[in-house]
Protein backbone atom coordinates (compact mmCIF):
# COMPACT_ATOMS: atom_id res chain seq x y z
CA UNK A 1 0.00 0.00 0.00
CA UNK A 2 1.27 3.45 -0.97
CA UNK A 3 1.17 6.50 1.18
CA UNK A 4 -1.88 8.65 0.34
CA UNK A 5 -0.84 11.39 -2.08
CA UNK A 6 -3.08 14.39 -2.69
CA UNK A 7 -2.83 16.28 -5.96
CA UNK A 8 -4.70 19.17 -7.58
CA UNK A 9 -7.00 18.60 -10.53
CA UNK A 10 -5.24 19.05 -13.85
CA UNK A 11 -6.73 21.59 -16.24
CA UNK A 12 -7.86 19.09 -18.85
CA UNK A 13 -10.38 20.03 -21.58
CA UNK A 14 -13.14 18.19 -19.69
CA UNK A 15 -12.42 20.27 -16.57
CA UNK A 16 -12.63 23.44 -18.66
CA UNK A 17 -15.87 22.30 -20.26
CA UNK A 18 -17.39 21.58 -16.87
CA UNK A 19 -16.29 24.98 -15.58
CA UNK A 20 -17.85 26.77 -18.55
CA UNK A 21 -21.08 24.82 -18.17
CA UNK A 22 -21.29 25.67 -14.48
CA UNK A 23 -20.55 29.33 -15.16
CA UNK A 24 -23.37 29.36 -17.70
CA UNK A 25 -25.77 28.12 -15.02
CA UNK A 26 -24.44 30.68 -12.55
CA UNK A 27 -24.90 33.40 -15.18
CA UNK A 28 -28.48 32.29 -15.83
CA UNK A 29 -29.17 32.42 -12.09
CA UNK A 30 -27.66 35.91 -11.91
CA UNK A 31 -29.87 37.10 -14.75
CA UNK A 32 -33.00 35.69 -13.16
CA UNK A 33 -32.10 37.32 -9.82
CA UNK A 34 -31.74 40.69 -11.55
CA UNK A 35 -35.07 40.17 -13.29
CA UNK A 36 -36.81 39.24 -10.04
CA UNK A 37 -35.17 42.22 -8.35
CA UNK A 38 -36.45 44.52 -11.06
CA UNK A 39 -40.03 43.31 -11.28
CA UNK A 40 -40.43 41.99 -7.75
CA UNK A 41 -41.47 38.51 -6.72
CA UNK A 42 -44.67 38.95 -8.74
CA UNK A 43 -43.00 37.20 -11.70
CA UNK A 44 -42.15 34.12 -9.64
CA UNK A 45 -44.60 31.39 -8.74
CA UNK A 46 -44.44 32.43 -5.11
CA UNK A 47 -47.31 34.45 -3.65
CA UNK A 48 -48.79 35.52 -0.34
CA UNK A 49 -49.97 31.96 0.37
CA UNK A 50 -46.88 30.01 -0.73
CA UNK A 51 -44.23 32.41 0.50
CA UNK A 52 -41.30 30.04 0.21
CA UNK A 53 -40.95 28.27 -3.12
CA UNK A 54 -38.59 26.30 -5.30
CA UNK A 55 -35.50 28.41 -4.42
CA UNK A 56 -35.96 27.37 -0.79
CA UNK A 57 -36.21 23.71 -1.79
CA UNK A 58 -32.83 24.01 -3.51
CA UNK A 59 -31.32 26.11 -0.73
CA UNK A 60 -32.42 23.79 2.08
CA UNK A 61 -31.33 20.75 0.08
CA UNK A 62 -27.85 22.18 -0.41
CA UNK A 63 -27.57 23.26 3.24
CA UNK A 64 -28.72 19.86 4.48
CA UNK A 65 -26.43 18.04 2.04
CA UNK A 66 -23.55 20.32 3.08
CA UNK A 67 -23.54 19.15 6.67
CA UNK A 68 -23.96 15.57 5.48
CA UNK A 69 -21.04 15.79 3.06
CA UNK A 70 -18.81 16.47 6.05
CA UNK A 71 -19.70 13.07 7.46
CA UNK A 72 -17.06 11.27 5.41
CA UNK A 73 -14.42 13.34 7.19
CA UNK A 74 -16.13 12.83 10.56
CA UNK A 75 -16.16 9.07 10.09
CA UNK A 76 -12.39 9.23 9.65
CA UNK A 77 -11.46 11.80 12.30
CA UNK A 78 -14.10 11.22 14.98
CA UNK A 79 -14.90 7.55 14.56
CA UNK A 80 -11.39 6.49 13.48
CA UNK A 81 -12.25 4.60 10.30
CA UNK A 82 -8.95 4.81 8.41
CA UNK A 83 -10.51 3.85 5.06
CA UNK A 84 -12.29 7.20 5.00
CA UNK A 85 -9.18 9.20 5.89
CA UNK A 86 -7.96 9.87 2.31
CA UNK A 87 -11.34 11.37 1.42
CA UNK A 88 -11.74 13.58 4.47
CA UNK A 89 -10.04 16.68 3.04
CA UNK A 90 -12.35 16.79 0.05
CA UNK A 91 -15.33 15.93 2.21
CA UNK A 92 -14.72 19.04 4.32
CA UNK A 93 -14.14 21.19 1.24
CA UNK A 94 -17.31 19.92 -0.42
CA UNK A 95 -19.37 20.68 2.67
CA UNK A 96 -18.22 24.30 2.56
CA UNK A 97 -18.99 24.49 -1.17
CA UNK A 98 -22.49 23.06 -0.78
CA UNK A 99 -23.28 25.41 2.10
CA UNK A 100 -22.06 28.36 0.04
CA UNK A 101 -24.34 27.36 -2.85
CA UNK A 102 -27.34 26.93 -0.57
CA UNK A 103 -26.83 30.23 1.22
CA UNK A 104 -26.37 32.03 -2.10
CA UNK A 105 -29.84 30.88 -3.18
CA UNK A 106 -31.38 31.78 0.16
CA UNK A 107 -29.87 35.26 0.16
CA UNK A 108 -30.62 36.02 -3.47
CA UNK A 109 -34.27 35.12 -2.99
CA UNK A 110 -34.73 37.71 -0.23
CA UNK A 111 -37.10 40.56 -0.97
CA UNK A 112 -34.25 42.94 -0.22
CA UNK A 113 -30.96 41.11 -0.86
CA UNK A 114 -29.27 44.51 -0.87
CA UNK A 115 -29.83 44.57 2.88
CA UNK A 116 -27.71 41.50 3.58
CA UNK A 117 -25.54 43.71 5.76
CA UNK A 118 -28.50 44.30 8.08
CA UNK A 119 -29.03 40.56 8.35
CA UNK A 120 -25.37 40.08 9.21
CA UNK A 121 -25.18 42.88 11.79
CA UNK A 122 -28.61 43.00 13.46
CA UNK A 123 -29.50 39.84 15.32
CA UNK A 124 -32.72 38.94 17.02
CA UNK A 125 -31.64 36.15 19.31
CA UNK A 126 -35.10 34.65 19.69
CA UNK A 127 -35.06 33.83 15.98
CA UNK A 128 -33.82 30.40 14.91
CA UNK A 129 -33.04 32.09 11.59
CA UNK A 130 -30.62 34.44 13.29
CA UNK A 131 -29.07 31.51 15.17
CA UNK A 132 -28.66 29.73 11.87
CA UNK A 133 -26.73 32.68 10.46
CA UNK A 134 -24.27 32.27 13.32
CA UNK A 135 -24.21 28.50 12.81
CA UNK A 136 -23.56 28.87 9.07
CA UNK A 137 -20.80 31.43 9.51
CA UNK A 138 -19.26 29.37 12.30
CA UNK A 139 -19.39 26.32 10.06
CA UNK A 140 -17.24 28.07 7.45
CA UNK A 141 -14.66 28.99 10.08
CA UNK A 142 -14.55 25.65 11.89
CA UNK A 143 -14.52 23.50 8.76
CA UNK A 144 -11.96 25.87 7.22
CA UNK A 145 -9.70 25.28 10.21
CA UNK A 146 -10.44 21.55 9.98
CA UNK A 147 -9.23 21.47 6.36
CA UNK A 148 -6.15 23.49 7.28
CA UNK A 149 -5.08 21.24 10.16
CA UNK A 150 -5.53 18.21 7.93
CA UNK A 151 -3.26 19.74 5.31
CA UNK A 152 -0.53 21.13 7.57
CA UNK A 153 2.33 18.69 7.66
CA UNK A 154 3.64 17.30 10.92
CA UNK A 155 0.64 18.28 13.00
CA UNK A 156 -0.30 15.82 15.75
CA UNK A 157 -3.29 13.57 14.89
CA UNK A 158 -4.81 14.77 18.16
CA UNK A 159 -5.19 18.26 16.70
CA UNK A 160 -6.94 16.86 13.64
CA UNK A 161 -9.21 14.78 15.84
CA UNK A 162 -10.07 17.77 18.04
CA UNK A 163 -10.91 19.89 15.00
CA UNK A 164 -12.87 16.95 13.58
CA UNK A 165 -14.94 16.58 16.75
CA UNK A 166 -15.62 20.33 16.86
CA UNK A 167 -16.76 20.27 13.22
CA UNK A 168 -18.93 17.19 13.84
CA UNK A 169 -20.68 18.71 16.86
CA UNK A 170 -21.14 21.99 14.98
CA UNK A 171 -22.66 20.27 11.96
CA UNK A 172 -25.15 18.44 14.18
CA UNK A 173 -26.14 21.80 15.69
CA UNK A 174 -26.38 23.31 12.22
CA UNK A 175 -28.72 20.63 10.88
CA UNK A 176 -30.78 20.81 14.06
CA UNK A 177 -31.11 24.54 13.41
CA UNK A 178 -32.14 23.96 9.81
CA UNK A 179 -34.78 21.40 10.81
CA UNK A 180 -36.02 23.70 13.56
CA UNK A 181 -36.76 26.46 11.03
CA UNK A 182 -39.75 24.28 10.24
CA UNK A 183 -40.12 22.32 13.45
CA UNK A 184 -40.65 25.44 15.52
CA UNK A 185 -43.43 26.90 13.37
CA UNK A 186 -46.21 26.19 15.85
CA UNK A 187 -48.95 27.79 13.78
CA UNK A 188 -48.80 25.51 10.75
CA UNK A 189 -50.21 22.01 10.93
CA UNK A 190 -47.68 20.74 8.38
CA UNK A 191 -44.75 21.71 10.64
CA UNK A 192 -44.72 22.13 14.43
CA UNK A 193 -42.88 18.87 15.17
CA UNK A 194 -39.73 18.39 17.23
CA UNK A 195 -38.92 15.38 15.08
CA UNK A 196 -37.99 17.76 12.25
CA UNK A 197 -34.51 18.19 13.79
CA UNK A 198 -33.51 14.49 13.89
CA UNK A 199 -35.31 13.94 10.59
CA UNK A 200 -33.18 16.64 9.00
CA UNK A 201 -30.02 15.12 10.50
CA UNK A 202 -30.89 11.73 9.00
CA UNK A 203 -31.67 13.46 5.68
CA UNK A 204 -28.32 15.22 5.77
CA UNK A 205 -26.48 11.92 6.31
CA UNK A 206 -28.20 10.38 3.28
CA UNK A 207 -28.22 13.35 0.88
CA UNK A 208 -24.69 14.42 1.85
CA UNK A 209 -23.19 11.01 1.28
CA UNK A 210 -25.00 10.62 -2.05
CA UNK A 211 -23.78 14.03 -3.20
CA UNK A 212 -20.25 13.28 -2.00
CA UNK A 213 -20.13 9.97 -3.89
CA UNK A 214 -21.44 11.41 -7.16
CA UNK A 215 -19.21 14.49 -7.12
CA UNK A 216 -16.09 12.59 -6.07
CA UNK A 217 -16.64 9.91 -8.70
CA UNK A 218 -17.12 12.59 -11.38
CA UNK A 219 -13.93 14.40 -10.39
CA UNK A 220 -12.04 11.09 -10.27
CA UNK A 221 -13.28 10.19 -13.74
CA UNK A 222 -12.31 13.62 -15.07
CA UNK A 223 -8.79 13.28 -13.70
CA UNK A 224 -8.33 9.55 -14.49
CA UNK A 225 -8.09 8.48 -10.87
CA UNK A 226 -9.20 5.16 -9.49
CA UNK A 227 -12.02 4.72 -6.94
CA UNK A 228 -12.13 1.11 -5.74
CA UNK A 229 -15.30 -0.99 -6.06
CA UNK A 230 -15.08 -2.42 -2.55
CA UNK A 231 -14.76 1.03 -1.01
CA UNK A 232 -17.65 2.33 -3.12
CA UNK A 233 -19.92 -0.57 -2.18
CA UNK A 234 -19.01 -0.12 1.47
CA UNK A 235 -19.99 3.56 1.31
CA UNK A 236 -23.11 2.60 -0.64
CA UNK A 237 -24.32 0.30 2.10
CA UNK A 238 -23.66 3.03 4.68
CA UNK A 239 -25.85 5.29 2.56
CA UNK A 240 -28.48 2.55 2.58
CA UNK A 241 -28.49 2.65 6.39
CA UNK A 242 -28.93 6.44 6.32
CA UNK A 243 -31.79 6.16 3.81
CA UNK A 244 -33.42 3.66 6.17
CA UNK A 245 -33.07 6.19 9.00
CA UNK A 246 -34.80 8.86 6.89
CA UNK A 247 -37.68 6.46 6.18
CA UNK A 248 -37.89 5.60 9.88
CA UNK A 249 -38.11 9.22 11.03
CA UNK A 250 -40.59 10.00 8.23
CA UNK A 251 -42.77 7.10 9.35
CA UNK A 252 -42.67 8.22 13.00
CA UNK A 253 -43.48 11.80 11.97
CA UNK A 254 -46.59 10.77 10.07
CA UNK A 255 -47.73 8.10 12.53
CA UNK A 256 -47.53 10.59 15.41
CA UNK A 257 -49.62 13.07 13.45
CA UNK A 258 -52.19 10.48 12.42
CA UNK A 259 -52.70 9.53 16.07
CA UNK A 260 -53.75 13.09 16.96
CA UNK A 261 -57.23 13.73 15.58
CA UNK A 262 -56.54 17.43 15.09
CA UNK A 263 -53.79 16.54 12.59
CA UNK A 264 -55.88 14.02 10.65
CA UNK A 265 -56.63 16.61 7.99
CA UNK A 266 -53.05 17.45 7.17
CA UNK A 267 -52.07 13.76 7.12
CA UNK A 268 -54.97 12.95 4.82
CA UNK A 269 -53.63 15.73 2.60
CA UNK A 270 -50.02 14.52 2.53
CA UNK A 271 -50.69 10.78 2.34
CA UNK A 272 -53.97 10.40 0.44
CA UNK A 273 -55.55 13.42 -1.21
CA UNK A 274 -52.74 15.91 -1.77
CA UNK A 275 -52.46 15.38 -5.52
CA UNK A 276 -48.91 16.23 -6.55
CA UNK A 277 -47.69 16.09 -2.95
CA UNK A 278 -49.15 12.64 -2.35
CA UNK A 279 -47.65 11.37 -5.60
CA UNK A 280 -44.29 12.90 -4.74
CA UNK A 281 -44.43 11.36 -1.28
CA UNK A 282 -45.23 7.75 -2.15
CA UNK A 283 -43.74 7.46 -5.62
CA UNK A 284 -40.66 9.67 -5.48
CA UNK A 285 -39.70 10.08 -1.83
CA UNK A 286 -40.61 6.66 -0.42
CA UNK A 287 -40.27 4.27 -3.38
CA UNK A 288 -37.81 5.94 -5.77
CA UNK A 289 -35.73 7.78 -3.19
CA UNK A 290 -36.02 5.29 -0.31
CA UNK A 291 -36.92 1.67 -0.98
CA UNK A 292 -35.26 1.26 -4.39
CA UNK A 293 -31.87 2.73 -3.32
CA UNK A 294 -31.92 0.46 -0.26
CA UNK A 295 -32.72 -2.55 -2.43
CA UNK A 296 -29.94 -1.58 -4.83
CA UNK A 297 -27.17 -1.23 -2.25
CA UNK A 298 -28.21 -4.15 -0.03
CA UNK A 299 -29.52 -6.72 -2.52
CA UNK A 300 -27.41 -5.97 -5.61
CA UNK A 301 -24.31 -4.19 -4.36
CA UNK A 302 -22.16 -3.11 -7.30
CA UNK A 303 -20.46 -0.03 -8.65
CA UNK A 304 -23.36 0.79 -10.97
CA UNK A 305 -26.06 0.09 -8.41
CA UNK A 306 -24.35 2.37 -5.87
CA UNK A 307 -24.17 5.20 -8.41
CA UNK A 308 -27.83 4.71 -9.31
CA UNK A 309 -28.78 4.59 -5.65
CA UNK A 310 -26.97 7.89 -5.05
CA UNK A 311 -28.81 9.56 -7.93
CA UNK A 312 -32.16 8.26 -6.66
CA UNK A 313 -31.44 9.41 -3.10
CA UNK A 314 -30.86 12.93 -4.37
CA UNK A 315 -34.05 12.91 -6.45
CA UNK A 316 -35.98 11.54 -3.47
CA UNK A 317 -34.40 14.21 -1.27
CA UNK A 318 -35.60 17.02 -3.51
CA UNK A 319 -39.08 15.49 -3.49
CA UNK A 320 -39.05 15.23 0.30
CA UNK A 321 -38.04 18.87 0.74
CA UNK A 322 -40.61 19.95 -1.85
CA UNK A 323 -43.30 18.18 0.19
CA UNK A 324 -42.07 19.63 3.48
CA UNK A 325 -41.54 23.21 2.31
CA UNK A 326 -44.25 23.73 -0.29
CA UNK A 327 -46.74 21.06 0.74
CA UNK A 328 -46.56 22.36 4.30
CA UNK A 329 -47.67 25.79 3.10
CA UNK A 330 -50.20 24.50 0.57
CA UNK A 331 -52.24 23.00 3.39
CA UNK A 332 -54.32 25.84 4.87
CA UNK A 333 -53.98 27.30 8.33
CA UNK A 334 -56.75 26.24 10.67
CA UNK A 335 -57.79 29.67 11.94
CA UNK A 336 -61.48 28.85 12.45
CA UNK A 337 -61.77 25.25 13.68
CA UNK A 338 -65.25 23.83 13.16
CA UNK A 339 -66.17 26.38 10.52
CA UNK A 340 -66.39 26.19 6.78
CA UNK A 341 -65.16 29.37 5.09
CA UNK A 342 -67.79 30.66 2.67
CA UNK A 343 -65.97 33.83 1.74
CA UNK A 344 -62.42 34.86 2.51
CA UNK A 345 -58.95 35.64 1.28
CA UNK A 346 -57.69 32.27 0.01
CA UNK A 347 -58.99 30.92 3.29
CA UNK A 348 -59.31 27.26 4.11
CA UNK A 349 -58.36 26.10 0.61
CA UNK A 350 -55.34 24.19 -0.69
CA UNK A 351 -53.01 26.86 -2.05
CA UNK A 352 -51.71 26.33 -5.57
CA UNK A 353 -48.10 26.82 -6.56
CA UNK A 354 -46.46 26.62 -9.98
CA UNK A 355 -42.73 27.32 -9.90
CA UNK A 356 -41.46 29.76 -12.50
CA UNK A 357 -38.40 29.38 -14.72
CA UNK A 358 -36.71 32.17 -12.74
CA UNK A 359 -36.93 30.16 -9.54
CA UNK A 360 -35.62 27.03 -11.24
CA UNK A 361 -32.72 29.00 -12.72
CA UNK A 362 -31.89 30.46 -9.32
CA UNK A 363 -31.99 27.04 -7.66
CA UNK A 364 -29.86 25.38 -10.33
CA UNK A 365 -27.48 28.34 -10.09
CA UNK A 366 -27.00 27.52 -6.42
CA UNK A 367 -26.13 23.93 -7.31
CA UNK A 368 -23.71 25.27 -9.95
CA UNK A 369 -22.10 27.60 -7.38
CA UNK A 370 -21.58 24.65 -5.04
CA UNK A 371 -20.07 22.47 -7.77
CA UNK A 372 -17.94 25.31 -9.12
CA UNK A 373 -16.53 26.14 -5.69
CA UNK A 374 -15.84 22.46 -5.02
CA UNK A 375 -14.10 22.19 -8.41
CA UNK A 376 -12.01 25.32 -7.87
CA UNK A 377 -11.03 23.99 -4.44
CA UNK A 378 -9.97 20.67 -5.93
CA UNK A 379 -8.10 22.55 -8.66
CA UNK A 380 -6.01 24.76 -6.39
CA UNK A 381 -5.75 22.71 -3.18
CA UNK A 382 -4.31 19.28 -2.64
CA UNK A 383 -7.50 17.72 -1.35
CA UNK A 384 -8.21 14.89 -3.78
CA UNK A 385 -6.19 11.67 -3.31
CA UNK A 386 -4.52 10.36 -6.46
CA UNK A 387 -5.54 6.78 -5.90
CA UNK A 388 -8.44 5.20 -4.02
CA UNK A 389 -8.16 1.76 -5.60
CA UNK A 390 -9.08 -0.99 -3.17
CA UNK A 391 -5.46 -2.12 -2.84
CA UNK A 392 -4.58 1.38 -1.72
CA UNK A 393 -7.30 1.94 0.90
CA UNK A 394 -6.04 1.68 4.48
CA UNK A 395 -7.45 -0.99 6.77
CA UNK A 396 -9.71 0.14 9.56
CA UNK A 397 -7.90 -1.97 12.14
Amino acid sequence: MDRTIYRELKATPSVWMAAILLLAFIGAAGLSVLTIEHHGHIITGMNNQIVWGLPHVFAIFLIVAASGALNVASIASVFGKKAYKPMSRFSALLSIALLLGGLAVLVLDLGRPDRLLIAMTTYNFTSIFAWNMLLYNGFFVIVGVYIAVQMIKGLSPKVVKTAGIAAFVWRLALTTGTGSIFGWLVARPGYDAAIMAPLFIAMSFAFGLAAFLLITLTLFKMSDRNFGDVLLKRMGSLMGVFVGAVLYFTAVQHLTNIYATEHAGVERFFLLEGGVYTTLFWLVQVILGGLIPMALVFLRPSRTSTIWASILVIIGGFAQLYIIIIGGQAYPLDIFPGYEVLEGFNEGVINAYTPSLYELALGLGGVAVALFVAGIGAKILRVLPTNLSDANVPDDS
Binding site: Q49, G111, R112, A119, R188, L333, G338, G344, N346, A352
Partner: protein, 248 residues
Protein backbone atom coordinates in the same frame (compact mmCIF):
# COMPACT_ATOMS: atom_id res chain seq x y z
CA UNK B 1 -34.43 70.57 21.08
CA UNK B 2 -35.04 73.38 18.63
CA UNK B 3 -31.45 73.77 17.54
CA UNK B 4 -29.96 70.34 17.15
CA UNK B 5 -26.59 71.66 16.11
CA UNK B 6 -26.05 72.69 19.69
CA UNK B 7 -26.40 69.13 20.83
CA UNK B 8 -23.40 66.93 20.37
CA UNK B 9 -23.76 63.87 18.22
CA UNK B 10 -23.57 61.86 21.44
CA UNK B 11 -26.50 63.73 22.89
CA UNK B 12 -28.56 63.09 19.81
CA UNK B 13 -27.84 59.40 19.92
CA UNK B 14 -28.61 59.34 23.62
CA UNK B 15 -31.85 61.25 23.28
CA UNK B 16 -33.65 58.07 22.23
CA UNK B 17 -33.14 56.74 25.73
CA UNK B 18 -34.06 60.12 27.19
CA UNK B 19 -37.38 60.16 25.40
CA UNK B 20 -38.15 56.65 26.59
CA UNK B 21 -37.47 57.73 30.18
CA UNK B 22 -39.76 60.70 29.89
CA UNK B 23 -42.45 58.41 28.57
CA UNK B 24 -42.13 56.07 31.51
CA UNK B 25 -41.91 58.79 34.10
CA UNK B 26 -44.79 60.81 32.80
CA UNK B 27 -46.93 57.84 31.84
CA UNK B 28 -49.01 58.19 34.99
CA UNK B 29 -50.31 61.67 34.43
CA UNK B 30 -50.02 61.90 30.73
CA UNK B 31 -52.01 61.52 27.53
CA UNK B 32 -55.21 63.27 28.41
CA UNK B 33 -56.90 62.66 25.10
CA UNK B 34 -56.68 65.47 22.65
CA UNK B 35 -53.93 67.15 24.59
CA UNK B 36 -51.52 69.58 23.10
CA UNK B 37 -48.45 68.61 21.09
CA UNK B 38 -46.30 69.01 24.16
CA UNK B 39 -48.06 66.08 25.77
CA UNK B 40 -47.44 63.62 22.97
CA UNK B 41 -44.62 61.31 23.91
CA UNK B 42 -45.30 58.27 21.78
CA UNK B 43 -46.03 54.69 22.65
CA UNK B 44 -47.14 54.38 26.27
CA UNK B 45 -46.19 51.18 28.10
CA UNK B 46 -49.08 51.82 30.48
CA UNK B 47 -51.54 51.10 27.71
CA UNK B 48 -52.36 48.21 25.47
CA UNK B 49 -54.47 49.04 22.48
CA UNK B 50 -56.93 46.41 21.34
CA UNK B 51 -60.07 45.71 19.36
CA UNK B 52 -63.20 43.76 20.23
CA UNK B 53 -65.11 42.64 17.16
CA UNK B 54 -68.75 41.69 17.58
CA UNK B 55 -69.57 39.30 14.74
CA UNK B 56 -73.31 39.70 15.36
CA UNK B 57 -73.07 43.38 14.47
CA UNK B 58 -70.87 42.77 11.41
CA UNK B 59 -72.90 42.68 8.19
CA UNK B 60 -71.97 40.04 5.63
CA UNK B 61 -72.47 42.39 2.68
CA UNK B 62 -70.46 45.29 4.16
CA UNK B 63 -66.73 45.72 3.64
CA UNK B 64 -66.39 49.36 4.65
CA UNK B 65 -63.58 48.55 7.11
CA UNK B 66 -61.51 46.99 4.32
CA UNK B 67 -62.15 49.94 2.00
CA UNK B 68 -61.32 52.44 4.75
CA UNK B 69 -58.07 50.62 5.53
CA UNK B 70 -57.09 50.61 1.85
CA UNK B 71 -57.75 54.33 1.55
CA UNK B 72 -56.05 55.21 4.82
CA UNK B 73 -52.94 53.13 4.25
CA UNK B 74 -52.75 53.12 0.48
CA UNK B 75 -52.76 49.39 -0.30
CA UNK B 76 -54.97 47.40 -2.61
CA UNK B 77 -53.97 48.74 -5.99
CA UNK B 78 -52.08 46.31 -8.13
CA UNK B 79 -50.13 46.07 -11.36
CA UNK B 80 -50.35 44.03 -14.50
CA UNK B 81 -49.11 40.69 -13.12
CA UNK B 82 -51.21 40.81 -9.96
CA UNK B 83 -53.43 37.93 -8.93
CA UNK B 84 -55.61 37.32 -5.87
CA UNK B 85 -52.83 35.10 -4.51
CA UNK B 86 -50.22 37.86 -4.68
CA UNK B 87 -52.55 40.60 -3.44
CA UNK B 88 -51.85 42.29 -0.15
CA UNK B 89 -54.43 42.09 2.64
CA UNK B 90 -53.96 44.12 5.81
CA UNK B 91 -57.57 43.40 6.73
CA UNK B 92 -59.98 40.93 5.15
CA UNK B 93 -63.60 40.00 5.58
CA UNK B 94 -64.42 36.34 6.17
CA UNK B 95 -67.83 34.71 6.17
CA UNK B 96 -67.95 31.44 8.06
CA UNK B 97 -70.47 28.64 8.35
CA UNK B 98 -70.59 26.40 11.40
CA UNK B 99 -70.17 22.86 10.06
CA UNK B 100 -72.47 21.42 12.75
CA UNK B 101 -75.24 24.01 13.08
CA UNK B 102 -75.15 25.78 9.73
CA UNK B 103 -75.10 29.23 11.35
CA UNK B 104 -73.22 31.76 9.21
CA UNK B 105 -71.26 34.67 10.60
CA UNK B 106 -69.01 37.44 9.24
CA UNK B 107 -66.05 39.27 10.72
CA UNK B 108 -62.97 41.19 9.68
CA UNK B 109 -59.56 39.58 10.30
CA UNK B 110 -56.41 41.64 10.65
CA UNK B 111 -53.14 41.48 12.60
CA UNK B 112 -54.20 40.22 16.03
CA UNK B 113 -51.46 42.22 17.80
CA UNK B 114 -50.42 39.30 20.01
CA UNK B 115 -48.80 39.82 23.38
CA UNK B 116 -46.21 37.19 22.41
CA UNK B 117 -46.16 37.52 18.63
CA UNK B 118 -44.60 34.57 16.75
CA UNK B 119 -43.64 36.96 13.93
CA UNK B 120 -41.47 38.94 16.34
CA UNK B 121 -39.89 35.77 17.71
CA UNK B 122 -38.82 34.46 14.31
CA UNK B 123 -37.69 37.68 12.63
CA UNK B 124 -33.91 37.39 12.12
CA UNK B 125 -33.22 41.13 12.09
CA UNK B 126 -35.69 42.40 14.66
CA UNK B 127 -37.65 44.25 11.97
CA UNK B 128 -40.79 42.58 13.26
CA UNK B 129 -41.39 44.36 16.55
CA UNK B 130 -43.91 45.15 19.24
CA UNK B 131 -44.29 48.68 20.59
CA UNK B 132 -44.59 49.45 24.27
CA UNK B 133 -48.35 49.86 23.86
CA UNK B 134 -48.74 46.41 22.30
CA UNK B 135 -48.96 47.36 18.62
CA UNK B 136 -47.07 44.89 16.42
CA UNK B 137 -45.30 46.50 13.46
CA UNK B 138 -42.77 45.79 10.71
CA UNK B 139 -39.81 48.16 10.69
CA UNK B 140 -39.37 48.24 6.93
CA UNK B 141 -36.00 49.89 7.37
CA UNK B 142 -34.70 46.58 8.69
CA UNK B 143 -36.91 44.08 6.84
CA UNK B 144 -34.87 41.93 4.45
CA UNK B 145 -37.94 40.25 2.94
CA UNK B 146 -37.23 36.71 4.14
CA UNK B 147 -40.96 36.03 4.80
CA UNK B 148 -40.25 33.88 7.86
CA UNK B 149 -42.81 35.97 9.82
CA UNK B 150 -45.42 35.00 7.24
CA UNK B 151 -44.58 31.36 7.82
CA UNK B 152 -44.95 31.88 11.57
CA UNK B 153 -48.13 33.97 11.73
CA UNK B 154 -51.12 31.77 12.68
CA UNK B 155 -53.61 34.29 11.25
CA UNK B 156 -52.22 34.89 7.77
CA UNK B 157 -52.18 38.55 8.74
CA UNK B 158 -48.99 39.46 6.93
CA UNK B 159 -48.42 40.19 3.25
CA UNK B 160 -45.31 40.46 1.14
CA UNK B 161 -45.20 43.31 -1.37
CA UNK B 162 -44.59 41.60 -4.71
CA UNK B 163 -44.44 44.69 -6.95
CA UNK B 164 -43.16 48.24 -7.09
CA UNK B 165 -45.34 50.68 -5.18
CA UNK B 166 -45.58 54.36 -6.12
CA UNK B 167 -47.47 57.32 -4.71
CA UNK B 168 -47.75 55.76 -1.27
CA UNK B 169 -49.93 57.28 1.42
CA UNK B 170 -47.98 59.49 3.77
CA UNK B 171 -49.69 57.51 6.54
CA UNK B 172 -48.04 54.21 5.68
CA UNK B 173 -44.77 53.96 3.78
CA UNK B 174 -44.68 50.59 2.00
CA UNK B 175 -42.58 49.10 -0.76
CA UNK B 176 -41.55 46.13 -2.84
CA UNK B 177 -39.63 43.35 -1.18
CA UNK B 178 -40.76 43.96 2.38
CA UNK B 179 -43.48 42.46 4.55
CA UNK B 180 -46.36 44.48 5.95
CA UNK B 181 -49.52 44.12 7.98
CA UNK B 182 -52.17 46.04 9.90
CA UNK B 183 -50.55 48.74 12.03
CA UNK B 184 -53.70 49.39 14.08
CA UNK B 185 -53.41 52.80 12.36
CA UNK B 186 -50.50 53.63 14.61
CA UNK B 187 -50.08 57.01 12.90
CA UNK B 188 -53.60 57.90 13.99
CA UNK B 189 -53.32 56.52 17.52
CA UNK B 190 -50.13 58.49 18.13
CA UNK B 191 -52.07 61.61 17.24
CA UNK B 192 -55.07 60.74 19.39
CA UNK B 193 -57.31 59.33 16.66
CA UNK B 194 -59.14 56.02 16.35
CA UNK B 195 -58.17 53.47 13.66
CA UNK B 196 -59.76 53.90 10.24
CA UNK B 197 -61.63 50.58 10.36
CA UNK B 198 -63.24 51.51 13.69
CA UNK B 199 -64.28 54.89 12.34
CA UNK B 200 -65.74 53.45 9.13
CA UNK B 201 -67.63 50.68 10.94
CA UNK B 202 -69.22 53.26 13.22
CA UNK B 203 -70.05 55.47 10.23
CA UNK B 204 -71.71 52.51 8.50
CA UNK B 205 -74.01 52.22 11.51
CA UNK B 206 -72.68 48.83 12.66
CA UNK B 207 -70.20 49.72 15.41
CA UNK B 208 -69.01 46.14 15.28
CA UNK B 209 -65.41 47.06 16.12
CA UNK B 210 -64.80 48.37 19.63
CA UNK B 211 -61.46 50.10 20.17
CA UNK B 212 -59.81 50.82 23.48
CA UNK B 213 -57.14 50.31 26.12
CA UNK B 214 -57.08 46.73 27.42
CA UNK B 215 -54.94 47.72 30.40
CA UNK B 216 -57.49 50.26 31.65
CA UNK B 217 -60.12 48.31 33.64
CA UNK B 218 -62.62 51.16 33.22
CA UNK B 219 -62.41 51.32 29.42
CA UNK B 220 -65.44 50.23 27.42
CA UNK B 221 -63.48 47.40 25.81
CA UNK B 222 -62.28 46.03 29.16
CA UNK B 223 -65.79 46.16 30.60
CA UNK B 224 -67.25 44.40 27.56
CA UNK B 225 -64.60 41.67 27.81
CA UNK B 226 -65.32 41.31 31.53
CA UNK B 227 -69.08 41.09 31.23
CA UNK B 228 -69.67 39.14 28.01
CA UNK B 229 -68.11 36.00 26.51
CA UNK B 230 -65.44 36.52 23.86
CA UNK B 231 -62.79 34.44 22.14
CA UNK B 232 -59.29 34.87 20.85
CA UNK B 233 -58.52 33.28 17.47
CA UNK B 234 -56.23 30.25 17.90
CA UNK B 235 -56.54 30.55 21.66
CA UNK B 236 -54.82 27.15 21.86
CA UNK B 237 -51.53 28.85 20.97
CA UNK B 238 -51.68 31.05 24.05
CA UNK B 239 -50.55 34.19 22.23
CA UNK B 240 -52.95 36.53 24.07
CA UNK B 241 -53.93 38.60 21.04
CA UNK B 242 -55.07 42.20 21.43
CA UNK B 243 -57.91 41.59 18.99
CA UNK B 244 -60.85 39.64 20.41
CA UNK B 245 -64.12 38.36 18.94
CA UNK B 246 -67.66 38.11 20.25
CA UNK B 247 -70.39 35.87 18.89
CA UNK B 248 -68.04 34.16 16.44
Amino acid sequence: MSNRAELTRRDILKSGAAVATITLASGVTLMAFGGSDANATGADAGKRWGLLIDANKCAADCSDCVTACKTENGWGSHGEHASPETDVAWIRKVTLKDKQTGRTVSAPIMCQHCETPPCVDVCPTGASMKRADGIVLVDKHACIGCRYCMMACPFKARSFVHEDVTDQSVNAPRGKGTVESCTLCVHRIDKGRIPACVESCEAAGHSAILFGDLKDPDSAISKALLNYPSIALRADLGLNPGVRYQNL
